[in-house]
Each structure stands twice: as structure tokens, then as C-alpha cells.
């Protein structure tokens, strides 16, 4: 047995660890495995802290917004205000809860107005741990009925889809991620095309031929062809149009504010379109114009 000089031991260890991880990468690609056990352990360890941090921050923010901010406007009543500090603190907390209730009421109204589509409300407790992907983490998971590939929305529009569901948490790939995509169409012209992210704030509508007319500001909605989102949910508005070869380069501003998400709705039904098709078969026939295989919009 050849003895390794002590000064080289760390180099050998480095090489071993790198080779191990390269093999792990290779296995994941070859078998399409995602090392789920390690992910479950890590998410299980970190998500309680994220949940606590999210709640704590919410409390601090509400206190700051509704309590300390008032100090500037009532400076001349300093003495009276001091006497009422405790009460104001309570009011601040109630205001925070009221604001949250308002947001939840918007979600509830949205849910009620779309009663035919079941939805699960969830709170955002974390974002992706790096810049390599654009994801968020929800406080609901498999135990709440959330499964992989479910659509995620807000009343403003489409957010993304669930890419991993753990027992008490789930990860959502945002629409702006490079790997993300959704079946979409232009609301006025009814031209269908997949729309996806590029790792930037704006989305890209990929397969609209140069011959088709598209207007700036035109609404983009879901086509329902990806079997994840029901039809007619807002995706965004056309922000930029450039001629390309052979397709136009259309950039779309997302309807949902993907940089400031607090509560979202998960669509538990993977086939909401089927329900609508049965009710109104005529509406299910899309006016395809230049759409290049929109069903491939959901890449994963």
C-alpha cells in the first residue's frame, strides 16, 4: 500500500469529493433522478426556520409600518402618544392582521368567483437559495394535497408551477425561470404560443409568426393547452415586439408581481381544462395561428 504524504491528503480528499459530486451529477442526468432524499432532509431542516422567519418578519414589518411610522406624524403629541404606546402596538398588530385579512379576502373572492376550480391557499416562506434558478417555497406540501406539476397563481395572474412537493412544504418554479413555460395565447387575436422565462423579469412569447399582428399592451392569457392552468387566466401584457426570423420576438410583462409574492393559490386539479371542455366544447377549440406545438410549453 502506497502511503499518501500528509501534505497531499487534502488534495486527495478534494479530488475524491469532486469526483463523487460529478458522479452524482451524472447519475441525476442519466436516470433523471433528483437526489430526493438529500432534498427532503435539507428542506425539512430549513423550512421551519423559514416559516418562523417569515412570521417574525411579518410581525416586525407590520409593527414598523403601522407603529413606528406614526411617530413622525404625531410628534407634537409626544406625551400623549407615549401613554398610548401599548395600545398602538396592539392596534398595529391588528392592522397587520387586517391587511393580511384583506389580501386573503381577495384570494377568497377569487376562489369563490372560480368555484368550479378547486384551489389551495399557501403562504410564501422562502425563495431559491441561489441565482441558478428562480423558485419560491410554500408552507404547504403533500399533506395539504399539493403535488408536483400543479399550477400556482395569484388573483393577478399566473405565478408558476410546483416542481417539488415535500410533506410540509413545496417548491414552485417561477414563470420567469429559464426552464419554465406555460401554454398561452394573445387575448385579442387568439394567437397561441408557449410563453416562458429567460431568467429575467420579462417573459418571452416564442412562436408567433412575423405575419401575425400583435399590439403593444395586448393581454396574454393562458390557453389551457398545457393541462396545468385553466384557460383565460392572465399571464401578462405585451411589452416589446421585434421582428425576428421566422418568429417575432415578443417580450411580455408578467401580470403577477413575481418579485413580491406573499400568498398564492395552488390549483390541485391537473386537468381543469377537461372540466371546461365538457361544459363548453366549442370554446375549447382554439383558433391556432402559428402556434408551434403549444403543448410543449410545460417543459418538465
Amino acid at each position: 500500500m502506497v502511503a499518501i504524504p500528509s501534505r497531499h491528503k487534502s488534495l486527495v480528499l478534494l479530488a475524491g469529493v469532486i469526483v463523487l459530486q460529478v458522479l452524482m451529477l451524472a447519475v441525476q442526468i442519466k436516470r433523471d433522478s433528483e437526489g430526493r432524499l438529500i432534498r427532503v432532509w435539507t428542506v425539512g431542516a430549513v423550512s421551519p426556520f423559514e416559516r418562523a422567519g417569515s412570521n417574525g418578519f411579518g410581525w416586525i414589518r407590520n409593527t414598523w409600518r403601522h407603529y413606528f411610522a406614526l411617530q413622525n406624524t404625531t410628534r407634537e403629541n409626544e406625551q400623549i402618544r407615549r401613554e398610548n404606546d401599548a395600545l398602538k402596538l396592539q392596534i398595529a398588530q391588528l392592522q397587520g392582521k387586517a391587511a393580511e385579512a384583506d389580501r386573503l379576502a381577495v384570494l377568497l373572492n377569487f376562489r369563490q368567483s372560480h368555484g368550479e376550480v378547486p384551489m389551495i391557499a399557501a403562504r410564501v416562506i422562502g425563495a431559491g437559495a441561489g441565482t441558478a434558478s428562480l423558485t419560491i417555497q410554500l408552507d404547504r406540501g403533500e399533506r395539504d394535497g399539493i403535488r408536483k406539476n400543479m399550477g400556482v397563481i395569484t388573483p393577478d395572474g399566473v405565478v408558476g408551477k410546483v416542481v417539488e412537493a415535500y410533506p410540509n412544504a413545496s417548491q414552485v418554479l417561477l414563470l420567469t425561470d429559464k426552464e419554465s413555460g406555460v401554454g398561452a395565447m394573445l387575448a385579442d387575436s387568439r394567437i397561441q404560443s408557449p410563453i416562458g422565462g429567460q431568467g429575467e423579469p420579462l417573459l418571452v412569447m416564442k412562436y408567433v409568426p412575423n405575419d401575425d399582428t400583435v399590439n403593444l399592451g395586448e393581454r396574454v392569457i393562458t390557453s389551457g393547452m398545457d393541462r396545468i392552468f385553466p384557460r383565460d387566466l392572465p399571464v401578462g401584457t405585451v411589452a416589446e415586439i421585434k421582428p425576428g426570423n421566422p418568429f417575432k420576438q415578443i417580450r411580455v410583462k408578467p401580470a403577477a408581481n413575481l418579485e413580491r409574492l406573499e400568498e398564492v393559490l395552488v390549483l390541485p386539479s391537473l386537468r381543469p381544462l377537461a372540466m371546461k371542455n365538457e361544459q363548453n366544447p366549442a370554446a375549447a377549440q382554439p383558433s391556432v395561428s402559428g402556434a408551434a406545438n403549444p403543448s410543449s410549453a410545460a417543459k418538465q
Binding site: 488534495l11 478534494l14 435539507t42 431542516a45 423559514e50 431559491g128 437559495a129 416542481v163
Partner: protein, 175 residues
């Protein structure tokens, strides 16, 4: 050579020790803050706190084996928290190498001066991003730009934050 770098023999460099619990808590906190702050402050996504913690413990512990294992652990945890579109090993490999390099350099240079820490963090951040691009291009066959201005801005921001973060982490050292 930068004047802030005090090059001496290995025997003159002080090795700092930490309680295992302090290292684990610091790593966990870095991960939690990394995943949690971008929800409320989108610009916070520029920061790579797990990388800063890896660099800090690498430079302070000055033991390459410990440095690379710490880097691997925090990198794999970061991969796990980034969703299934990021394969396990992407950040893991990059942070393993950075952990090794940081502890190897830490054993040769005095890296206590804030200017040295700032410069080293800048260099390590760029190297880390370079390793990620190499992994993506060569091992994953994913197109990724080598360089953009965003990288320089992010490296500068991380280098500045590192100066203050490292001062905070210095308090975890065993006397």
C-alpha cells in the same frame, strides 16, 4: 502583491478555532437568510451568504480538508434548496473548491485585514461563478454566458458585505 496581504511562513499564521455548534448555526442561518430575504428585498438575491460563510471558515480554520468539506456541505444544501432544476452538485462542486482554495490561502496569508478580506472575497466570488459556468457548460451542456456586468456588481456587493459579516463572525471564535 497587494500590500494588505501579509505573506509569512505557515507557522506564523494563527489558526482560529470555532465550536462545531457555532459553525453549524452560522451555516444554517446563512441558508435561511439566503432563501428568505429575496422574498422581501428582491435585490438581496445578489448576495451569496453560503459562499461568504464558506470563505470565512476556510480562511479562518486554515485547514484545507475542513474547508472543502464545509464547502461541500453548504453547497449541497444550497443545491437542495434551489429546486429540482438545479442538480445536486452544481453549487456543491463550486463551494468545495472555493472552501479548499480559501483554507489553502488562509494557511499562507494573513487575511485578517478588511481590505484583504474584501479583495479575496471579490476574487473568490468571481471564481465561484466561473466554476458554476464551467459545470453548467461542460457537465450539464447548458448554455451560460461567461461574463456580464451583473457578475461584477454582485462580486463587489458581496465583497463589501463580507467585510462586515466577517467582523460579526469573528465573534464566534474561541479565545
Amino acid at each position: 502583491m497587494n500590500g494588505a496581504f501579509d505573506i509569512r511562513g505557515e507557522s506564523h499564521i494563527e489558526v482560529h478555532k470555532f465550536r462545531l455548534g457555532a459553525i453549524i448555526i452560522a451555516m444554517l442561518m446563512a441558508l435561511v437568510i439566503q432563501t428568505w430575504t429575496p422574498i422581501h428585498f428582491s435585490k438581496a438575491a445578489l448576495l451569496d451568504l453560503p459562499l461568504l460563510v464558506t470563505i470565512y471558515f476556510g480562511l479562518s480554520r486554515r485547514n484545507p480538508s475542513t474547508g472543502l468539506l464545509l464547502g461541500m456541505a453548504i453547497g449541497l444544501a444550497q443545491d437542495s434548496l434551489s429546486g429540482p432544476t438545479v442538480p445536486l452538485g452544481l453549487y456543491g462542486i463550486a463551494k468545495t473548491i472555493i472552501g479548499y482554495l480559501a483554507s489553502s490561502l488562509g494557511a499562507r496569508l494573513d487575511t485578517e485585514h478588511p481590505a484583504a478580506r474584501c479583495a479575496l472575497t471579490f476574487a473568490f466570488f468571481v471564481a465561484h461563478q466561473g466554476l458554476i459556468v464551467v459545470t453548467r457548460r461542460i457537465l450539464l451542456a447548458q448554455p451560460e454566458p461567461w461574463f456580464n456586468m451583473h457578475l461584477i456588481v454582485a462580486a463587489l456587493v458581496n465583497a463589501i458585505v463580507a467585510v462586515f459579516l466577517f467582523l460579526l463572525l469573528d465573534r464566534l471564535r474561541k479565545n
